[in-house]
């Protein structure tokens, strides 16, 4: 999943990460590459335009778009009504 991420999007996601609890770590249960990322690791990945960094920013931006369009709340409602 390689996409062009704008500088503005990167800056927004980095700013959020820096205001988050810095002792947090993100774990990914996959057998390849680094499996646990500190907030610093994620910021470094975003700044260096690594695949992980690009993916992180894209997922965050997609999520924000889905929040703004109401999709995320619709998903919650659908699950609540299961």
């Amino acid at each position: 999943m390689t996409v062009d991420i704008s500088g503005k999007e990167k800056a927004l996601v980095i700013a959020r990460l820096k205001s988050s609890n810095q002792s947090r770590k993100l774990s990914v249960m996959a057998p390849d590459g680094i499996k646990t990322y500190t907030i610093k690791d994620i910021v470094k990945n975003i700044e260096s335009d690594s695949e992980m960094g690009k993916r992180y920013v894209q997922e965050q931006m997609d999520f924000m778009r889905r929040i703004n369009s109401g999709e995320v709340y619709k998903l919650i409602e659908e699950i609540e009504n299961l």
């Binding site: 959020r16 990460l17 988050s20 609890n21 002792s23 947090r24 770590k25 993100l26 774990s27 990914v28 249960m29 996959a30 057998p31 390849d32 499996k35 646990t36 997922e59 965050q60 999520f63 924000m64 889905r66 929040i67 995320v72 998903l75 919650i76 699950i79 609540e80 299961l82």
Partner: protein, 209 residues
């Protein structure tokens, strides 16, 4: 007595962290009437031991924890416990599988069901969780792991695969709603939503232990 096999490798930080949570699940199941856990922990989580345990105990359910991808579920040192296109898939015929690993629901899960597994619950892409500490009291990890592990607990309680899956999704959704409204925390909420969207149940959803 219905037997349940749990695999919990402990060769890295993630699997060690997860293993503490799996101990809670194992204790829960062992406390239930007519249920017994066979745990393949740490270096014992190998394909050879799993195959032998299936022969010895004829488990109704197998719960995998650790690393994985669309074609493989890993054990100790991420070596395969079960792989796509491998004869090992036949070992799971007639059994319920819960895989708390990345991506196995994408291809392998369907292959297991096609090869006779009663049902498969897992994730069709990466499984994420945030952690802010090193214990089962970790408030970030709880938001992810309690819904994820609920599937095995509910199944052990006798709940059907479909209902166990629904209950887990509802727990995820409740946590997502709380994360969005109380914390405004996009890091946690985005990964919760991701897990919800990639969580799948295949096969006979009416199956029970």
């Amino acid at each position: 007595m219905k037997k349940i096999i749990l695999t919990s490798p402990t060769h890295d930080e993630d699997t060690q962290f997860l293993s503490a949570w799996i101990s809670d699940v194992a204790d829960y199941i062992d406390g239930l009437h007519n249920r017994s856990v066979v745990r393949l922990n740490g270096e014992h989580a190998t394909q050879e031991n799993l195959t032998q345990s299936i022969i010895d105990h004829d488990p109704r359910m197998i719960m995998f924890n650790g690393h994985g991808n669309s074609l493989m579920i890993g054990g100790h040192n991420d070596l395969p416990l079960v792989s796509s296109q491998d004869e090992s898939v036949q070992n799971f015929s007639g059994r319920i599988i819960h895989a708390l690993v990345c991506s196995a629901g994408h291809t392998l899960g369907q292959e297991l069901v096609d090869s006779g597994a009663d049902a498969f619950v897992g994730y069709k892409d990466l499984f994420y969780y945030w952690q802010a500490g090193n214990t089962t009291d970790d408030s970030d990890a709880k938001l992810f792991l309690e819904p994820a592990l609920h599937v095995s607990k509910a199944l052990s309680d006798g709940v059907s695969v479909g209902d166990a899956f629904k209950q887990s999704q509802k727990m995820y959704a409740k946590n997502l709603k709380a994360a969005l409204s109380s914390f405004g925390d996009s890091e946690v909420s985005q990964k919760l939503e991701w897990n919800i969207k990639h969580h799948i149940a295949k096969g006979n959803l009416a199956a029970t232990i």
